[in-house]
Symmetry: C2
Subunit: 354 residues, 2 copies
């Protein structure tokens, strides 16, 4: 068996006993039961995923995958393809939004080139890992974006990233991405998994105009028609209409679940990766936290179709893992409350009137 | 003139020029314009309130006011009155939810007894300031909760708290509260200011049962009828149907605005204080950030009536300033992005396709 099959075999269900024990402790803390709302739900789910009633916190990391997309040539993005490479350098150098948030919040930032068009690995950018599956995908309007072997390698890169992080003591990992035009394959993947029509899912991405938006919707519709026969299988779907960074993020979702490490999903494009991981392994959503509801097109619809409720709703649409970082911050605050609050007994506080 | 009148006279409008300059810098950062969504709005408002285009960050503080309520004797709360004193001690000692969050996030925690029933100032609790206006309010079902002079002194306590914090270099202050039964006066104040019927505004507070909930609604309706003539004026309204901690929080709103220090409003009860401050000084809402939409009854309706949109929506209903703390964390993250992200020019990143 390969790494993907090994990983799928290693995924066990979240631990209901750990969740119950965490819930009991939550009710012993000096607050009305349930009054911390979704923070309590976060703690319970973290304990269940980790199979750890004490919900112990280790290190936190954000894995950002960067790649180019052949479909960019169809004029679906507001920015030139060169921006992918420029932003890869900027993220590694510490100037991008995710660089700032990771630094401020003390999160390890793992930046990976999984397939930017221009190969800079010979004179590598500071702060960037090179795990290149190719030099950008092919335009999925003319054939599959990548081969099935490339799709597997991209997913495996994500699985390895999650495994290595877990090995370093990471207990919470966020995913993020950068790749000009990647909201187009993300729309295609989400449409394929959820059945929502592309015209309802598609958004403006980085800010494309009306004409570009129409090209984007037409491109996704055409791709879904061309690759219909590949969309029944998760890995084949990623090969046909996905992207290297989308497949790698799906790999982190799978690898995180196998390592009992909760995965925090960023916005629209990361949600497409999460949807692909659920397509590969039904039920995987129980290992994921959806960080925020993006301002991007049909993200709210996609979350609903996946049965997910996002932690934050801040009209963000930047990607890079910025929503993941903010949500991980909320998760850490929730866990601090769980660990450090006094109990009714220890603080001598009276309970409810019976 | 007194402190309140001096404070009102010192409040100037937010600085539109500073806001414009901050907006221009936001558009120079390496991200699609507007893609940080509400984080950008937060930065612009912070710059405008501070009258500081560079949106410089100083210290952050959370002011928690604790007091008792005569109306508790009407059976409107799920917990006995003794819990107010017990939680005052717990908050000061570091065991309450807000103690944990303030410690984790590095915020100064200012805990003030403004009128708990039992006076412990002779053998003071650790971590507690005593600025007692009285030993709990009177039951507003039989007469005003406090005298007009007490209302003024409670508001002045809040103003002084804000002034002193600003003097120590605090540039962002959150408000929070603790006081058994205080969602009842908060409902009364919000009903009086917004005109929303008590039955739509009232919630379960710390978890009162159906009978208690009915008593609560009846109590608020009776109080509004009894004290109708006092509700045209903010200070008289606070005297008639408010509470010491509600009046003190309203004072922080006024004092924060006068010191150009943004005030972060917690949940349902703090929103009642904010509403009272807006009643005292129309337009004061432009100095406030509403931290979260509480799970408590009609908080969403109250926010809508005040034209406010909360930063977070986590189904919390604990109070103490816990929502303020989490939202202040988001505000600090937004400001870090503003200060530390690279610009398109500095990072050599291409702009949009023209």
């Amino acid at each position: 068996m390969g790494l993907i099959e090994d990983t799928l075999a290693a995924i066990a269900p979240p631990d209901a006993e750990a969740e119950k024990a965490a819930a009991a402790r939550l009710d012993s803390l000096t607050k009305p039961p349930g009054s911390l709302g979704r923070l309590e739900e976060i703690v319970r789910r973290y304990a269940a995923i980790r199979s750890d009633p004490s919900a112990t916190v280790g290190r936190a990391a954000i894995a950002v995958f960067v790649a180019d997309h052949g479909v960019a040539e169809a004029g679906v993005s507001a920015y030139p393809k060169a921006v992918t490479l420029e932003m890869l350098r900027n993220i590694g150098a510490g100037g991008a939004a995710i660089s700032v948030l990771a630094r401020k919040l003390g999160y390890e930032l793992i930046v990976t080139d999984v397939g930017v068009e221009t190969d800079t690995s010979a004179t590598p950018f500071a702060g960037v890992r090179y795990r290149r599956v190719g030099s950008g995908t092919r335009n999925f309007l003319h054939g599959p974006a990548m081969s099935l072997d490339e799709s597997r390698r991209a997913v495996e890169t994500g699985i390895e990233t999650a495994r290595e992080a877990a090995g370093r003591g990471v207990t919470l990992i966020g995913i993020g991405e950068m790749g000009i035009a990647n909201s187009t394959p993300a729309t295609a993947v989400l449409a394929a998994v959820t059945g929502i029509p592309p015209a309802r899912l598609a958004g403006r991405g980085t800010g494309v105009d009306d004409a570009g938006m129409n090209r984007k919707i037409k491109a996704v519709e055409a791709a879904l028609k061309l690759h219909r026969s590949s969309c029944g299988d998760g890995l084949a779907m990623l090969a046909a209409i996905g992207g290297f960074e989308i497949a790698a993020m799906a790999g982190v979702c799978l690898g995180g679940a196998a390592a009992r490490m909760p995965v925090v999903v960023d916005g629209f494009i990361a949600t497409a990766a999460a949807a692909a991981s659920i397509k590969i392994r039904p039920g995987l959503g129980s290992y994921l936290f959806f960080s925020h509801r993006s301002a991007e097109g049909g993200h709210a619809l996609a979350l609903e179709a996946l049965g997910a409720r996002a932690i934050l709703d801040l009209d963000m649409r930047l990607g890079e893992g910025t929503g993941s970082a903010l949500a991980m911050n909320v998760i850490e605050n929730a866990l601090a409350l769980f660990h450090q609050m006094a109990t009714f007994a220890s603080a001598g506080v009276s309970g409810k009137i019976e």
